[in-house]
Every structure is written in structure tokens, then in C-alpha cells.
Amino acid sequence: MSAAKEQEETKKLTLVQAVQDALRTEMELDERVLVMGEDVGRDGGVFRATEGLLDQFGPERVMDTPLAESGIVGTALGLAVAGFRPVAEIQFMGFVYPAINQLFAHVARFRNRSRGRYPLPMVVRMPYGGGIHPPEHHSESYESLFLNTPGLKVVVPSTPTDAKGLLIQAIREEDPVIFLEPKRIYRAFREEVPSGAYTIPLGELRVAREGSDVTLIAWGAMSRVVLEASEFLVKDGVSAEVLDLRTLNPLDLDGILESVRKTGRAVVVHEAPRNTGFGAEIATLIHERLPLELEAPVARVTGFDCVFPFPMTEEHYLPTRDRVIAAVRKTLDF
């Protein structure tokens, strides 16, 4: 973490509070920063990520928009072109589909299309992932879509400290950033988070736990599940290294390879469906680049290839500690 400004003070914050703190901090420092989306104003966001911002910064900088995701992203693009730095919210990742045309046909392409004239300093925030027992379309993990489509940076914090530092960095980027917030752990725990502005560079993974027998690779809420598994594995004498990717694009491939070179084994864990998920890309990169160092094929623990289920069975959908442990064992026994 490269603190832009040395800060002694900290505050105990949840992940969603850290998001809010990041927005407020950056809006105070840079008046080009705008917040926009459905219910982000008076309501403060359905998860309270933008709470208090309307009162502090007024309706010109905190805009409740009409209910239209393509409109949100398309106008955010225009605002970015004309000198603002919009942070748009998609209320749930499950509702990003109507914005896909603007995101993929324009946001991801604008710098290239204009040969560098119009970079797009804009962030699209989305709460994502399962675990909160909501109705349909509120639990999805579509990161794969954003990774197969070139031109977007994709960031996923899994701790309050990372959330704040990564979000401030995302806002300062000259490239558009998809910022995925694991809503399952929005309020799972608090952490001392530095006050004031600091940034965490995109493209650097965090070693959440050092280990030597196997590398566990995850992001978002799955980082916590994997960490839990690694703690459990200690009892079995298995030393797992846990990598929290933090940024999915650009990927910290060096960080991954360094770890797998050491451990010789890897398990990738994600909530999204398995088929053509990002787990496949990571596994393939490792196989391509460390063919002789690997002692077992890279294993995947993922969501199933189905629609995210309704609350009564959703806990069976999400990768669990035990599924991760089973995959590790299989990898070790290979």
C-alpha cells in the first residue's frame, strides 16, 4: 500500500463503510468526481455505500438517475469525456446486462477508438456475488464477461483496507474500472482503515497467508472462504499459501507464478459458473508457464453451471470451506 499522504489515524470500518469513506475522501479532494446511479442519493444506496454523500456534495455531484443502466453508463461516459470522473453504481451486478452495450461497445473501446484522445477515467461499481439470500438476479458473479472483453480493468477488494485504497486508485486511473464489491462480506467484519487518502496499485495481488504446500487463489468473498480452509488445513499439517488477487485485469501473473513455483500446486476458487470462468484462464496460464514445476493439475472449485439458485438452496451453490479442502487434498494426493 503506497500511502499518498502519511496517515496516522485509522477508523474501524466494514467493507461497505470503507467504500463510502473512499468515495467521500476522493470527492473532497477532487471536485471532478461524481457519483451516480439508482438510489445513490437520498437513500444513500441500497447498501448505504453512498450514504451522506448527497447531503455533503449536493445533487450536482450525487445524482439519483432514472432506472436505466444503459443510460447510467452511457451518460457517465459523456461526463468522463467532458472532464468529470464519474463513479457510477449498478445496483446489483445482476442488473448490469442492460448496460453491456455501453460498457463493451463504448467504455471498453473509447481509448482505442480515439487512439488515445479520449481515455475514460470512470468507475462502475457493482455489489456482486452470493450469500445474502435475496430474490433472483441479486447474487450473480459475471466477472468472466468483463475479462473476455478487452479494455476494462477489473478490481475486487476483499478487505475494508483494500476496498478503500483500491477504490481511490480506481477513481484516479485514466482507464475505466469495473469495481466489484463482494456484498456477502460488506459487513462481515471491521478493520482499522487509515483515514484520509491512500492508494493501492491495481494489478498487485495480496498474499493473504504464506504457505509452502499448495497455492489457493481467490478473490472477493471467496478469499475469506479460502482463508478459512487454509486455517483448517493447518491442523492436517498442510501449509497453504493464499493469494487474494484483488485485481483480475491486469492480472498479477508474476505473483501467481512465484507462489506456484514454490508450492507446485494450485487450486483456484470462484463463485461464478465453472464453464469459461476466470478459473480456466488462471489454470491455463499456470499450465502454460510452469509445465515442469507443477506437481498436479491446477484444480478448480467453482459455482455450478446453472442460474444462481433461490435462497433455500443457495448455500449449496457457493464454494464452501469443505469443498476447497477436498480439492486441496485431491491435489496433494495426486
Binding site: 438510489d39 437513500d43 441500497v46 432506472l67 445482476g94 435475496p134 430474490p135 455450478f304 433461490f310 449449496h316
Partner: protein, 357 residues
């Protein structure tokens, strides 16, 4: 600067039963006493159905619930005009209408409790499963309406949305396709003034939703959505038009969402008590009862009997709900395709085996 006028039109609003229970006799639709009492009963049924769900939710026996409190006239008034040949493409806000259309209460409770199997409705009930992505359902109703037109069916497809839904691109594409293809489709918007925390005036700079019909070459009408007679008469006129083969129709029912958006929301964060109090006076059940009492068609005793009957019905639904078998985890992959391909078979077996352990 003077120019040629190339388009001139207007948009009307229909109101019949005022909040104080008085009616515009001229506009009153020719309903028998029995029919009027039926409408009242329907509204109370919806209220009981909704109220129970809210209670179950508070007790942790139900998932998120989207209340229809205050929208009973907007749903019962339309339901009365529908037949078995018709089709519904509902959102999450049409639970009352679905109930009256024949979707069993237990299915709906199961859906909201978090069991996909709730959406498997009985044969012959032409209602799509409710779905959440705003405005997208309207296109399905237009597609079905195109099909009904091609088949020469008597049916009409009804697509639903709220005031918020009118901002989405799909609202536009639905109305435009409906106009171009002369779909047998009623586009029905319950303008309950709020899309979660966003008030209608921030949703569009247009003064009404009904006037949006001018963009599509189809007729549009606004009705007082808290007035069961206006809803009934207005949607009847629209459905008659559609059934006569004259093409699609947009109806906006002006109503009010008296509860929070869903049980996951807290409307006091963004609405004033004055506003909710104002609309409490305009709510549909109260005015209908005032009307019935003036007519001497209703009294305290009848009310008590009906409430008792409804309470029993509701308890029955809850029993049905709680008697349902728990959904099987492996079913999450079982309905993706007609047959499970190898990868889903593997996942199915994995889930089954894991549960057994």
C-alpha cells in the same frame, strides 16, 4: 414562427370513485351489486395475502417480500377483466393480480420464501413466472401478443411495469414493437410514485406515463389506480380495443406504494410522513368501503365475517407452504436444459452426493 401542425393529440385521465366514497354516476360502469362486492372482496383478499407475507417475513419464515399494500384496486380492477385465454408477464409487484388470475397463493409464498418450484404454476394458468429485471417483461407480453394476433386468438397478453420501468430501454422497445406489429397486448404500468427511493418526477420530465403512448402510435390512458371502478372501466375499454383487433394499448394506473419497496427497504429514509398520510386517505379499500356503506351494501358485521373467512384462508395457505417438501439442492442444475449435458450430470451427482454426506 408559424409552421404546419403535423401531430395533435391528447391524453385523458379517468376517475370515478373519489377518496370520500362519492362516485361520478355518469362514468360508473354497469356493475351489479354482487360484482361490486366481489371487487371489494378481491381487494381485501389481496390485503390479507400481502399482510400475512409481511408477517411471515418478520418472523423469519419468508424471504424478501414486495408488498402490494395500496395497489389493490390497480390489481383487482384489472383482474376482473381477464379471462383464461389471456396471458400475464408479471414483475415482482403483481402478486395480488396473479392470485386473482389463478396463481395459487402457496406458489407465490414458496417463490418468495426462496423455492424456484413455486414458479411452476398449474396448467391452464397462462402466467409467466414473475421476474425481476425491470421492464424486460413487457417485451415478453408483446411477443405473446404478436403470437395471439397471428393465431387469431381471443386472448390478450398483459405486460407489467412500474413507474421506474418506463425509464428502461425495454419499455420503449416493447411499446414500439407493440405499435408496429399491432400486438394483442396491454401495457399496464402501475405508477406507484416511487421506484425504491426515486420519486416519479425524477424518473422522467414527462408529466405522465400515459402520454408516452404518443411516441408509439398507440392509445394511452391514465386511470386513478386507487379507484377500482376507474381501473376496471379503463382497462376494460383498453382490452375491448385490443380484443377487437385494433392493436396495443398503454394504461397507467396512478397509485401509491404504501409500504417500503420490499421488506429489505426502509421508506422513512426518503419519504415524509405527510406524504404517506396523504395517500393513506386516498387508498382504495377505504374509499370503496365508504361507497358500499353509502349504498348500504356493507356493514361492520359483513366486514367481520369476511375478515374471519380471509384469515382462515390465509392460514390455509401458510399450512400449504409449510407442508411443502424442501427443494433439493441438485435441482439447481436439473432444469437448465431438456437433458443434462455431461457437465451438469457431473454437478448433479456431486450435489446429490454432498447432501447425503
Amino acid at each position: 414562427m408559424p409552421k404546419t401542425i403535423i401531430y395533435e393529440a391528447m391524453t385523458e385521465k379517468l376517475e370515478i370513485l373519489a377518496p370520500d366514497g362519492t362516485v361520478d354516476e355518469q362514468l360508473l360502469p354497469p356493475l351489479s351489486q354482487e360484482e361490486v362486492l366481489g371487487l371489494y372482496r378481491d381487494m381485501l383478499t389481496l390485503r390479507a395475502f400481502d399482510d400475512k407475507a409481511l408477517k411471515l417475513q418478520r418472523q423469519g419464515r419468508m424471504g424478501t417480500w414486495a408488498s402490494t399494500l395500496g395497489q389493490e384496486a390497480a390489481q383487482a380492477g384489472l383482474a376482473k377483466n381477464l379471462t383464461r385465454a389471456d396471458w400475464l408477464a408479471p414483475t415482482f409487484r403483481e402478486s395480488g393480480l396473479m392470485l386473482l388470475f389463478g396463481v395459487p397463493a402457496v406458489n407465490q409464498y414458496a417463490y418468495w420464501k426462496g423455492d424456484e418450484a413455486g414458479s411452476l404454476f398449474p396448467e391452464g394458468v397462462n402466467c409467466l413466472p414473475p421476474s425481476v429485471p425491470i421492464a424486460s417483461q413487457l417485451l415478453h407480453a408483446v411477443g405473446i401478443g404478436m403470437a395471439l394476433q397471428k393465431k387469431g386468438s381471443d386472448g390478450v397478453a398483459v405486460g407489467f411495469g412500474g413507474d421506474g420501468s418506463t425509464s428502461e430501454g425495454d419499455f420503449h422497445e416493447a411499446l414500439n414493437f407493440a405499435g408496429v406489429f399491432g400486438a394483442r397486448t396491454l401495457l399496464y404500468v402501475q405508477n406507484n410514485q416511487w421506484a425504491i427511493s426515486v420519486p416519479f418526477k425524477r424518473q422522467t420530465a414527462a408529466g405522465s406515463i400515459a402520454q408516452k403512448a404518443h411516441a408509439y402510435g398507440i392509445p394511452g390512458l391514465q386511470v386513478d389506480g386507487n379507484d377500482p371502478f376507474a381501473v376496471y372501466a379503463g382497462t376494460k375499454a383498453a382490452l375491448d380495443h385490443i380484443r377487437a383487433g385494433k392493436g396495443a394499448y398503454l394504461v397507467e394506473a396512478l397509485t401509491y406504494r404504501m409500504q417500503s419497496h420490499t421488506t429489505a427497504d426502509d421508506h422513512t429514509r426518503y419519504r415524509t410522513p405527510e406524504e404517506t398520510a396523504l395517500w393513506a386517505e386516498r387508498e382504495p379499500v377505504r374509499r370503496t368501503r365508504l361507497y358500499l356503506e353509502k349504498k348500504e351494501w356493507w356493514d361492520e358485521q359483513k366486514e367481520a365475517a369476511l375478515q374471519e373467512e380471509l384469515a382462515a384462508a390465509v392460514e390455509g395457505w401458510v399450512k400449504e407452504l409449510e407442508a411443502r417438501p424442501a427443494p433439493k439442492p441438485e435441482d439447481m442444475v436439473a432444469f437448465m436444459y431438456q437433458e443434462m449435458p455431461w457437465h451438469l450430470k457431473e454437478q448433479y451427482e456431486f450435489l446429490k452426493a454432498e447432501v447425503k454426506r
